[in-house]
Subunit: 350 residues, 2 copies
């Protein structure tokens, strides 16, 4: 579990104009070159990036996975993480969900004029750290600056590539009736960490994001020969939206047992305070795996070897009908339909 | 040459809230699914994207090129193009500059709450058209929404992958003293088209962007066996910044002949009016190629077969020293040093 005990939510205030991002930093000229040389290249430098060309030349063999995500989380810094670590782990995890080991990432930055260079530097260092932890290299990048008031400090896009390790496709279409639904751990921490920081609630220091790379437990499952039908990380929209999407794409039904879904007590209280359902709250280090029921015990045994998945547990199963429906059985025996997140209760969570 | 005779700079004004992008469209729930189904999937649909997973699974063989760019151009629509066509061609061209044929693109959208859905639809259609023209598929994507006033209508990131066709690396490090510097056509049109529209200058309809895919002329050069040492498309910072960057990376000098650099008369006049040097103005369909001097005539012959490079011409040559210097000989015989764009004269041009 990642915890940042030295969480500093405040962004540094630039003392002079030269400590701030300026429009000229995005114009492709001398100022941009200087910013690349002082902030980005020292952090991300590697033999591919250092070629300084319009793109990176890579040699990869086998089927590849390719994915993209933009990150607009607000605030930029929150307990246990920041937009930088999110931008690395989010994309690494999307590749893991394809049964692939992330290898190469791109990084595209959109900066607001006036952003403190020190804030940018802190984000870039966090990306450097997260990339090293996940074993990926940033091999190509882009930098744009927009005028003051036309963006919100900074946005990051990362796209990623990796070689697919799984021999069979891992995708919603392979889910089958009878599959066990495994959840890799407790849910709701990322969303609550961000919301609590944004709203200035008192419990923010106690609940840190679960943001972490998921490559190792996922590849271990595959290496152990578990016939993984589908994987999905639980980001925006939470567990509920992920399962609704899979049920609809697969044309099957998913039935959950509420008391088997781990939610920490402090997260549950925060959800009540904020009027949120933990099933809808975002995570950045949690995933679901659909496996044949007979393989569930072994899958759990493999997953629990990893700190990031030590809380893995079966939370439900797949049924043949009705197509696209997700239900949840409450502790007192009632069953309700689980729907996707509706409305905008949780904007800019990643 | 691409010209849009039906240029409509105005963005539609949404009549009701349901015609606008809302925060809920970015929350990963039902509203997002509905926007994907009505705007994005009908335009971009292909068997890979339609798998609806966290990433696309691709089979590619050979060395690959990988690149990324974010697009923040303002205004979104300008004569001959828009942010959508730019987002496709810009990334396709970065891959072409690596000697690669673009095949797969990702598309990440950051939308401002309140954006007219019709504006988004128009941009998406333009991307669809440009992707078809360039022969690329959008195989994975992402959508975020930020609150009103926290972005400027919409930003797009595209990342791209393609197989490298060139056997030798095409990069600044391979440039040699004596190389001929070939420019693929007249410069400055894209920057002037955008600036004139933004500033509301009268000549905007006469000068259209040069935005176009460059894959075909570049791959024809390679197929013809021309030993291309380096390629670079002339985007932000224009011809001057591209050449300065290459001269610095290669540790060589580049000497240009001003009268050999094609600039249209109307572009030259607009530059004078706006106080800009055409060498610093952005292009989106122009590139430089560095080739051994003996191969320049054949390179020109190949390039001129393509409409997008019919104005290809030799504009200078590479000298051994001083390292990193670019000079330009004026028609009256004087020689001045060409520097990168300094300052922020041309913000948000791509």
């Amino acid at each position: 579990m990642i915890r940042d005990e030295t969480f500093e939510p405040a962004c540094p205030v630039p003392a002079t104009a030269t400590d701030m991002v300026q429009l000229a930093h995005g114009s492709g000229g001398r100022a941009m070159e200087q910013l690349l040389d002082t902030v980005f290249r020292p952090a991300f430098g590697n033999p591919l990036l250092d070629r300084r060309h319009d793109g990176a030349r890579l040699v990869l063999s086998g089927p590849l996975a390719f994915t993209t995500d933009s990150y607009v989380v607000q605030p930029l810094f929150f307990p246990g993480g920041d937009i930088g670590s999110l931008a690395i782990n989010g994309t690494v995890n999307d590749l893991a969900m394809c049964g692939a080991r992330a290898q190469y990432l791109s990084a595209g930055f959109i900066l607001e004029e006036g952003l403190a260079i020190e804030t940018l530097r802190r984000v870039v260092r966090s990306m450097q750290h997260a990339a090293a932890q996940a074993g990926v290299a940033i091999v190509t990048g882009d930098l744009k600056v927009v005028d003051r008031g036309k963006a919100d400090q900074l946005f990051i896009n990362t796209s990623g590539m990796g070689v697919v390790v799984a021999r069979e496709a891992i995708e919603p279409q392979r889910v089958q009736a009878g599959d066990a639904v495994i959840l890799s751990g407790d849910i709701g921490r990322h969303g609550i960490a961000v919301m609590a920081t944004r709203e200035g609630l008192g419990f923010e220091s106690a609940i840190a994001t679960d943001c972490a790379p998921l490559t190792e437990p996922v590849l271990a499952l595959i290496a152990a020969g578990v016939d993984v039908h589908c994987l999905r990380d639980l980001t925006r929209g939470g567990l509920a939206s992920a399962l609704c999407e899979i049920a609809e794409t697969a044309g099957l039904s998913i039935n959950l047992v509420e008391r088997d879904i781990p939610v920490r007590e402090d997260v549950r209280s925060a959800c009540e305070l904020l009027g949120l359902d933990p099933l809808h709250v975002a995570n950045e280090g949690r995933f679901v795996a659909f496996v044949p029921p007979g393989e569930a015990p072994r899958a759990l045994e493999v997953l629990r070897r990893f700190a990031v998945a030590e809380g893995a547990t079966v939370i439900g199963e797949v049924a043949p009908a009705p197509a696209g429906r997700v239900t949840c059985r409450s502790p007192i025996g009632g069953t309700h339909v689980v729907d996707r997140l509706a409305g905008d209760q949780l904007p800019r969570i990643c």
